[in-house]
Amino acid sequence: MIAIIKYNAGNTCSVQNALERLGYETIITDNEEELQKADKVIFPGVGEASTAMTYLRDRGLDQVILRLKQPVLGICLGLQLMCEASEEGDVSCLGIFKSKVYKFPNTEITPHMGWNDFTDLKGVLMKGLKKTNDVYFVHNYYADLSNETTAVCNYIKPFSAALEKDNFYATQFHPEKSADIGEKILKNFLDL
C-alpha cells in the first residue's frame, strides 16, 4: 500500500493515477497510523509554501512526516517543504534536506515550465537515467545545491532537480507527468 499525504496543497489525483497505472494500491490520508503502516509514502504538492507549512504544523503533520521510517518521496512543493527554509512566505520548513529554497529572479521567464534535462546524476532514484532524458518541471522557486543533490537542472541557474537523504527522496519535477521517464523514476522509488 502506498500512502499519499493528504493536506491543503496536495495534487493527490495525478500521483494517485500514476501509481494506479503502475498497478499499486493507494490511500490518501493524514492519519499517522495509516501513514506509518504504508510501504511507501508520497508527499506531493502544488501551492504556496508558508500556507502549506502552517497547515502541516497546525495538525502536527510536520512531526508525523519527520518520524516516518519507510521511503518517502516529496514532489515539487513537497521537495521544497522538505528543505531547511523557503523564501516563499519566508518560512522555515521541515529541515530534512539542508538546501534552502529561493525564488527565481524575474529577469527571465518564470515559472520554469516545461521539459528539461539534468546532469550530475547519482543516488537510487535516478538509477538508469541519462543526461538526455527530459522531465516536466513547473515552479517559481528552486532548492539550491548541496551534497544531498542527486540531479542538477540548469534554468537561470543550477538547482536541485532531485535530493536524497536516508529514507527521504524528492524531485522538483513531476515524475507523474513525465511520461515514460517519469514512470521509470517512480518505479525506482517503488522498488526500494
Binding site: 521567464i109 518564470t110 515559472p111 516545461g114 507523474e176
Partner: protein, 252 residues
C-alpha cells in the same frame, strides 16, 4: 536546456472531439482519449482541451471526461472553455487537469485570474487571448472571436501577468486556419512584454512555421490543432526537423 513545447489542441463538444471548418460545419471526430493517447505516443509535450460548447448542462460531461483523461494520460494537460469561477476551476483541477485556461470570463472580470492563482497557484492559470489586428493595432476579442473589446492585446497580457497568470496562450485570429505561419509580430511583442511562458497559436501549416516561430520570438511553445489532427504534420517528424535546426525539443 528547457525545451520548446509542441502542444496539440483538441476541441471538445459534449465529451467528443470535434472538428470545425471556419467555425461552421462542426463534425464529430472521435473519442478525445484515443486522439490524446495518439499525441502522447507521438511525443506531444502537453495537451490542451477546449470545450467549445461550455454550457452549464455540459459541465458534468466535461468533468467526467477530464477524470478519464487524467487516468490515461501521463503528460500535463490544460482544460479551457466556459470557466467562470473558482468553483469551476476546482472541479476541473480536482478531476485531474494540471491547468485551466480562461478567456472571455477573465476579460469580463479580471479578478478571476487572481482568485484562481491565490487558490491553486499561478502555474494553474493560463490566460488565453484571442487577438486580431485592427486599424488601432492588435486588440483582444472574446466569445470565440466574435466580440471585439476595447483592450489592446499588449496591455491585457501585462494586466494578466500582474494578476497572477502563469502562462499566456495567444491565438491570432488573422492567422488561424490560414496555414501561412504564426503571427510573429504580436507574438514577439507579447513575449517581450511579459516574463511568462507564451504559447503561440494560429497559422501553423508546415514544419518550418515552428522553426520561424522559435527563431524569431521568445514564445516557449507552439500550439496547433487540425494539422496534427489530419496528420499533415506528425509531431515526431516535426521535432526531428526542429532538432536539425538546433531548436531544443524533447525527442522520445
Amino acid at each position: 536546456m528547457l525545451k520548446k513545447r509542441i502542444i496539440p489542441c483538441l476541441d471538445i463538444q459534449n465529451g467528443r472531439t470535434v472538428k470545425g471548418i471556419n467555425f461552421v460545419g462542426i463534425r464529430d471526430a472521435g473519442d478525445p482519449i484515443d486522439l490524446a493517447k495518439r499525441y502522447v505516443q507521438e511525443g506531444a509535450d502537453e495537451l490542451v482541451f477546449l470545450d467549445i460548447t461550455a454550457t452549464i448542462e455540459n459541465r458534468d460531461t466535461l468533468v467526467s471526461l477530464v477524470d478519464r483523461i487524467a487516468k490515461e494520460i501521463d503528460i500535463p494537460f490544460t482544460v479551457g472553455g466556459g470557466i467562470n469561477s473558482v468553483e469551476d476551476v476546482s472541479r476541473i483541477i480536482t478531476a485531474g487537469a494540471d491547468k485551466v485556461s480562461v478567456n472571455s470570463s477573465a476579460v469580463r472580470r479580471p479578478e478571476l485570474i487572481r482568485e484562481i492563482a491565490n487558490e491553486f497557484g499561478s502555474q494553474c492559470v493560463t490566460v488565453a487571448i484571442d487577438t486580431q489586428k485592427t486599424k488601432q493595432g492588435w486588440k483582444v476579442f472574446t466569445h470565440g472571436g466574435r466580440k471585439e473589446t476595447e483592450l489592446m492585446t499588449i496591455d491585457w497580457a501585462s494586466k494578466a501577468e500582474e494578476l497572477g497568470a502563469g502562462e499566456i496562450l495567444l491565438t491570432s485570429m488573422n492567422n488561424d486556419g490560414t496555414k501561412e505561419g504564426f503571427a510573429l509580430e504580436i507574438t514577439e511583442q507579447v513575449s517581450e512584454q511579459v516574463n511568462l511562458p507564451v504559447i503561440a497559436s494560429g497559422g501553423a501549416g508546415v514544419e518550418k512555421d515552428f522553426e520561424i516561430l522559435f527563431n524569431t520570438t521568445k514564445a516557449t511553445a507552439g500550439l496547433a490543432a487540425s494539422i496534427f489532427h489530419n496528420n499533415e504534420i506528425h509531431i515526431q517528424d516535426l521535432k526531428k526537423y526542429l532538432k536539425t535546426k538546433q531548436i531544443p525539443v524533447r525527442c522520445k
